[in-house]
Amino acid sequence: MAEATESAGDGGAASPRPLFAGLSDITISQDIPIEGEITIPMRSRIREFDSSTLNESVQNTIMRDLKAVGKKFMHVLYPRKSNTLLRDWDLWGPLFLCVILALMLQRDAVDSEKYGGPQFAEVFVTLWFGAVTITLNSKLLGGNISVFQSLCVLGYCILPLTVAMLICRLVLLVELGPVNFLVRLLVVILMFAWSVVASTAFLADSQPPNRKTLAVYPVCLFYFVISWMVLTFTPQ
């Protein structure tokens, strides 16, 4: 309201000198406070909404977020044309998957000194560095997708490979041998294909149609490197 009185005062001072073309615009801006009052009910409603999330129990909040993450996992496992993964992006799922995969790829602490398996930091950095590189590449190729959307999709699509890692660890509990390796190879190839198909289903639409191949190639390379890590993992 203080602004309104000020601008009204300016308008009064300007009226004896009508030469000012610039100040006539200021008098028009008097309409703004009215608009402001119109928007106030909306704001109060938003506040009510906010207070409702503040008052709810922590369990509800966590469950809601977990449900959102779980829904996105389902989208990755059964990829279909949908914008859910793109519209409400979050980085919780990618973080979980990344940490789980890195923890599973890390060898036992005693052996890690001696044999130096893929360390936690290495896997973690590889995943995020790769995802950022692919995102930059798709931006440079002219894709209309935001950085975090792309990171979200790429991160969620690691899910099949994390499952493959889990299966591989279970298979490795049985005695080693060529059959064992073949089983792991098949699982990893299947999950690699799944990851690529799922991520391209979400990402390919954001690219210009004639450049899809160029955008998909680094994605394949990225998942290939991860699946190679998963396949070559052997507990010592």
Binding site: N137, R211, L221
Partner: protein, 346 residues
């Protein structure tokens, strides 16, 4: 001040600092482009597009500044000294804010500046990959080099993946912590380092090539390396490697040499530039193969030996003498074999 600030009067007299601001803005705009384009013979449109983009933006900034100052001039003439002062302060604030905003924008727009270099079609990339293996014997006229970075960048990443693959097949005795870093460092280091080194040499030898073209040329030259390494990491046959090294690696090196020769004048300069590039490129392939391939053999040897604990080796620690020494003998052997086979077949 107030008297001289007549409406429509010369703006620079009214406020000389604004000229400074304007220059600053222009400076901020022109500091964005790093990729120079001194070459007219390339015929590629990417460089022109980048330049055009930048020029357009500078013009926009100019027009904005001019419009704002014209408005100021009218305003200052009518108001008193106090009003002018406040207006001036406000304007300076606004200009400073605008300058900061434009700087922030130009940071973000760096992506947009790079975008023309990634403006390719899949078919173009495919044909350039094929062309990188076909040397063209045309020395009199400078050959075209497409100034594009998508292909080279992807080839370098592919090489990183292939190196990782090769390291992983050579069992786990290598320290994995350095594995990813080593692969990325080696590939990017070679690409950027050798490009800038050859660019420096080209500058000394007065060759007609830009940094961007050098990056593209050397990047596409890595296609041969990718093929050779991918095949020979999976099929462990020495004769096959030497054959591929000479054929595929040689072809891609020849292609680069031919392009450089066509852009250099004078036999000494040509010899210096092309000799350096060819030696570096061919030796890099040898290094990549033996540094990560010999490890497998070394492990196999040690495993076959009685109870000798496997040595812990970082791939870089392998002396360069070893491949070189083995190279001479095995290469002689393999060439002798090849000659024998050809003689028998005739």
């Amino acid at each position: 001040m107030a008297a001289s600030a007549a409406p429509g009067g010369p703006r620079n007299e009214t406020n000389p600092e604004w000229g400074g601001f304007e220059e600053n803005i222009q400076g901020g705009g022109s500091a964005v482009i790093d990729m120079e384009n001194m070459d007219d013979t390339s015929g590629s449109s990417f460089e022109d597009m980048g330049e055009l983009h930048q020029r357009l933006r500078e013009e926009e900034v100019d027009a904005d500044a001019a419009a704002a100052e014209e408005e100021d001039g009218e305003f200052l003439g009518m108001k008193g000294f106090k009003g002018q002062l406040s207006r001036q302060v406000a304007d300076q604030m606004w200009q400073a804010g605008k300058r900061q905003a434009s700087r922030a924008f130009s940071l973000y727009a760096n992506i947009d500046i790079l975008r023309p270099y990634f403006d390719v079609e899949p078919a173009q990339v495919r044909s350039r990959l094929l062309e990188s293996m076909i040397p063209i014997k045309m020395v009199n006229f400078p050959q075209k080099i497409a100034g594009e970075l998508y292909g080279p960048l992807m080839l370098v990443f592919t090489l990183v993946a292939i190196l990782l693959h090769g390291m992983k097949t050579s069992d786990t005795i290598i320290r994995e912590g350095t594995l990813m870093g080593t692969a990325i460092g080696t590939c990017f280091g070679y690409w950027l380092g050798v490009s800038s080194f050859i660019y420096f040499l080209a500058y000394l030898c007065n060759a007609q090539i830009t940094m961007l073209q050098m990056l593209a040329l050397l990047g596409y030259g890595l296609f041969g390396h990718c093929i050779v390494l991918f095949i020979t990491y999976n099929i462990h046959l020495h004769a096959l490697f030497y054959l591929f090294w000479l054929l595929v690696g040689g072809l891609s090196t020849l292609r680069m040499v031919a392009v450089l020769v066509s852009r250099t004048v004078g036999p000494t300069q040509r010899l210096l530039l092309c000799g350096t590039l060819a030696a570096l490129h061919m030796l890099f392939l040898l290094y990549l193969h033996f540094a990560y391939h010999k490890v497998v053999e070394g492990i196999l040897d040690t495993l076959e030996g009685p109870n000798i604990p496997p040595m812990q080796r970082v791939p870089r620690d392998i002396p360069a003498v070893l491949p070189a020494a083995r190279l001479s003998t095995t290469m002689l052997n393999s060439t002798a074999k090849v000659v024998a086979v050809t003689l028998q077949s005739h």
